[in-house]
Symmetry: C2
Subunit: 258 residues, 2 copies
């Protein structure tokens, strides 16, 4: 197999779920694909049509999936690899380039494009107000691919430096305690009243968004579909009264120390 056969590989971000949050470019790339590859819930979001072969796979086989996609593209197929959110944020794009680096040298000359998408923290922030309005970080709590000590060192660094922190992959059946440990670490550094937002399945039918505080966040429900945002010292709630959820925002300004 080699490049130059007319094949291509588009790594496409499907956004948080609602079809209306797909970009036009992502939709066009999906419409042009002959093979659709991805974790099965993402493949299931793309409507079936004649001429589109679907290859859904389980989670945690990202590099196998990437190699399969590259081999199909090298054979001349127009391939789409789909991720939820943005493919470059804790998703398939890095897995594809890892496979390119370590795979058939001809893969380096394939027509590979990345179509960005609305990643979970941007979708969650939009629903809440503007919690990412100042400096912020995105940190995965999964210790499948990095040591837990690295995760806690990074989390402590950004908490102390007063970034807003978006936690991806906060919890799963196989990793039940990591989110609690991260929130406990945060509670040792930030004030108990610091806003914490748990945004689950944003824009999907089972969306659930909770605004709480660091003191109370450990008892809030979370799962694999949840994105957790820990506010910075400046993050504020704007109460709205009644049953309306408060707006949450982080001011752009940081005052000079007195």
């Amino acid at each position: 197999m080699s490049g130059g056969t007319g094949g291509s590989l588009a790594i496409i971000g499907l956004g948080p779920g609602d079809q209306r949050l797909l970009t036009g470019a992502a939709r066009a790339a999906l419409d042009g694909a002959e093979d659709l590859i991805g974790y099965h819930p993402y493949v299931a979001r793309v409507p079936e049509r004649p001429g589109l072969r679907r290859h859904a796979s389980d989670n945690r086989v990202e590099v196998d999936r990437a190699r399969h996609a590259l081999a199909l593209a090298a054979s001349g197929r127009r391939v789409a690899v789909v991720s939820g959110g943005d493919p470059g944020v804790f998703a398939m794009a890095a897995a594809v380039f890892e496979a390119v680096e370590h795979g058939d040298p001809a893969w380096r000359h394939l027509d590979i494009t990345v179509e960005p998408g609305i990643t979970a923290m941007l979708a969650a922030a939009a629903r809440l107000g503007a919690p990412l309005g100042a400096d912020f970080c995105a940190l995965s709590l999964s210790d499948n691919l990095k040591p837990w000590d690295v995760i806690t060192a990074r989390l402590e660094a950004v908490l102390r430096a007063d970034f807003v922190v978006a936690l991806y992959n906060p919890i799963s059946a196989a990793r039940p305690w990591q989110l609690g440990a991260a929130l406990a670490l945060a509670a040792g550094i930030r004030a108990p009243g610091t806003p914490v937002m748990l945004a689950r399945a944003v824009t999907r039918p089972d969306e659930a968004i909770r605004v709480t505080t660091l003191a109370e966040a450990r008892d809030a429900p979370a799962d694999m579909a949840t994105l957790v945002i820990i506010g910075a010292s400046g993050t504020r709630l704007i109460p709205r009264g009644g049953s309306e959820r408060p707006f949450v925002y982080t001011p752009r300004s940081v005052a000079a120390p007195a």
Copy 2:
């Protein structure tokens, strides 16, 4: 003025520039607007049409612009405030909620929505490969709204903790030295060969993307339209040969210390 008059305010992300990177929801919100408010280059991206009043303003008047938008919405108009990229990332959403908090209490009951967009770091990353494939931060280098000491303390923290760092607002006519100072700080912490990417006007006709190293980045051209990404220790280039730009990616894995 009060809420409940049928007015609304949508804070809309236009993405990096290419119309094809707009979401469907953002386009629908633009189509439904009666008043369009924003910094003039963003207002200029939205086609004129009958029934759409355009209110373009200069930069650095964000809160005045936000109050104007809220007052129009409270008077019953359907208002769209536009930002480039994502409105929640160093853009108008935080300014609007700041105005809500400190303004007419009735504004808290307005129909305010945020339509997320593809922020510059996601657009730049997609063009490059997957440089944000592991933990990353977004940090504004503008010291108009926060002290320079806060910026350098934050930058140092995330450089030492080995995050990929996306620098927004790296330089402007009024702030000519901040990017050089940030790169000098990085050069004291990360290896000289660390990949640095300067992505200017991504997806626009004058797009210019440069992949360099920390040792050479200080001489690279940058301006207000540039997004700078400093790689982590794991960030890698995949050479492609000839005139093709290398792919850049950050592997998802971090090895356990020996």
